[in-house]
């Protein structure tokens, strides 16, 4: 963390110039923060209003009511619990698979000296450039052949390994000293034990960062579930929101309540892990 200017000789921490600069700085960050959070406030107030309109909602809810949330809960065609569990299962499984596969590959590409290692790594990384839309059509056809359309395995399978995760974890394992592994091997560990018992525990910050990223990405993923989940039973929350959007488009209170339900779990998770997150980012090779 950078030391502040006022710890240096010749820097005054008082006077008109200092206070005016500080005021401008705070005005700027506060204005930006308001722009970022005000939409959430509007969403909250709208979701708590009965039949909201522009004239009645902006900063406080008009005719406060919980009816929108109750309606979401009670309407027979809105399978809220099912969709929530679908999203949990989808995002959870994708995250678990990514952490496992990417840490295995990242470790091998950083610490195991095997044939063609650098070329394979470059191959993995260059797949990042393939836009999702190119593979979407054939992957869909493949899953039709397998009969995996509208199934959990169809939702999860194509997303179980991603090149960005391999990259991040390889960088992290590279930054750990090789002597640790050599010592473990002299003590009789095999390659897998060295990975699992020595290096993996040291990679926790990087794993946490990758885990949060992957979970958020899957929780909010729109493109893939839109293609593969066509039955209401298999919707994830974002797809469900898109589907009911067409039916209840004018019912803004309902739509805002649904939007809040999608974002709430992620916000809670982020606030709990905030410190870990930025720390892990700078440890995991996303360096400047």
């Amino acid at each position: 963390m950078a030391r502040s200017d006022y710890e240096y000789p010749g820097y005054e921490r008082s006077g008109v110039s200092y206070w005016s600069k500080t005021t401008v700085l705070y005005l700027l960050v506060t204005a930006g923060a308001l722009w970022m959070t005000l939409p959430f406030w509007w969403t909250l107030t709208t979701s708590l209003s009965a039949s909201p309109t522009a004239a009645t909602v902006s900063f406080i809810p008009a005719e406060f009511t919980l009816q929108n949330f109750i309606t979401l809960w009670e309407r027979p065609d809105i399978l809220l619990v099912r969709w929530f569990l679908n999203t949990m299962l989808f995002a959870g499984a994708v995250t678990a698979f990514n952490l496992t596969f990417d840490s295995l590959a990242g470790y091998a590409l950083a610490k195991v000296d095997f044939w063609g290692r650098e070329k394979i790594f470059l191959g993995f990384i260059s797949t990042m450039m393939i836009p999702g839309m190119v593979t979407l059509i054939p992957v869909y056809l493949l899953l039709v052949e397998l009969g995996w359309v509208n199934t959990y395995q169809g939702l999860i399978a194509p997303l179980v390994a991603q090149p960005l995760g391999i990259f991040l974890l390889r960088q992290h394992f590279k930054s750990l000293p090789s002597a640790l592994g050599d010592a473990a091997k002299i003590d009789g560990c095999n390659e897998f034990q060295t990975f699992y018992k020595v290096y993996l525990p040291l990679a926790k910050p990087a794993l946490a960062t990758l885990g949060i990223f992957t979970f958020m990405g899957a929780w909010n993923n729109f493109q893939w579930p839109l293609i593969i989940a066509n039955d209401a039973e298999m919707y994830t929350l974002p797809i469900a929101l898109f589907a009911v959007r067409n039916q209840y488009f004018a019912e803004w209170g309902l739509m805002m309540a649904a939007a809040l339900i999608i974002v709430a779990p992620v916000i809670v998770a982020f606030l709990a892990a905030q410190n870990y997150f930025i720390q892990g980012m700078s440890l995991s090779g996303m360096k400047g």
Binding site: T46, K185, E191, I262
Partner: protein
Amino acid sequence: MATEPLQSTAERTAERLRTALHDLKGYAGITEDQNNLMGFAFIAPNIVVFSLFLLGPVLFAFYVSFQEWSILAGAGEWTGIGNYVDVLEPLPISYADGSLQWRPEVFTDPSASLWWYSLKNTFVYAIGTVPLQIFGGLAVALMLDKRVRLRKAYRAAYFMPVMLSGAASAVMWRWFLAGDGVINGILPTFLEHNWAGDPGTALGGVMLMAIWGGIGSNMIFFLAGLQNIPEELYEAARIDGASRWHRFRHVTWPSLGNTNFFVFVMAIISAFQVFGIALVFSQGGPVYATTTTVLLIYQRAFEEGAFGEGAAMAFLLFLLIFAFSYYQYRYREETEVDY
């Protein structure tokens, strides 16, 4: 350089250590074959997933792009580059005295060719959002890297839009920008307007939403980058009497080289692929005003079932993104600064 002998001494020591360890490996019972076996065992799951869901599909998409391929009937007639011609053709083609004429209206008139029109929308979107997402993120990171009170609360506030799914934020912004929406509720009457429903402002609405959602994630990348700049560099600059601007220009900015590259390439690639927010916000309308290239591909392939043409368009987009990334990579190699 004064550091060179020291470095080569270190390298020689490291080399000796490596040789010693290599000899040791024989004793620990580890051979090269075992290394190869373990290495490939560790990456096997990824190889399977990538070949099944990335490389195989890319090759297959290339094959499909030369055919008529419908969602119901499967493979149809082999048409060669027919799909590509259909996509790129400014329709209807106008021949003046038998030659193909360049028609600039393909970029403005949706009835000419939706490919060109969607490309225009995508470029407008990219040019309007990417710089603001990046420099906004950098500015916020610089402000919040200092000893601002409540730093954590501010960071969380800026990060909140990032956590929201594209679908949810599109629904939210649609309500803010609707004719009876919240924005009009706080605007004076003479400025009221149906922002989302007017072809002239709908794409602007999508862009506003994207900038709102993009600043926070770039802020996180820049904050991580800033934390990795050694404090000694600033100390030296301060002792030399460098002003705040000079410290930024000669220490912070060059030290963020890799972060800048990463953030810029990611922002451009995701701008070229924007899809979900446009689909939920306005389904490409009104009058194709928010039809981006990927949204057009989705509609052709999955709504109209023309997989062949969709695949051809996806490949053309792939070429664009690849050309851009390659250019960036080369440019970076030339300008990279080493310390």
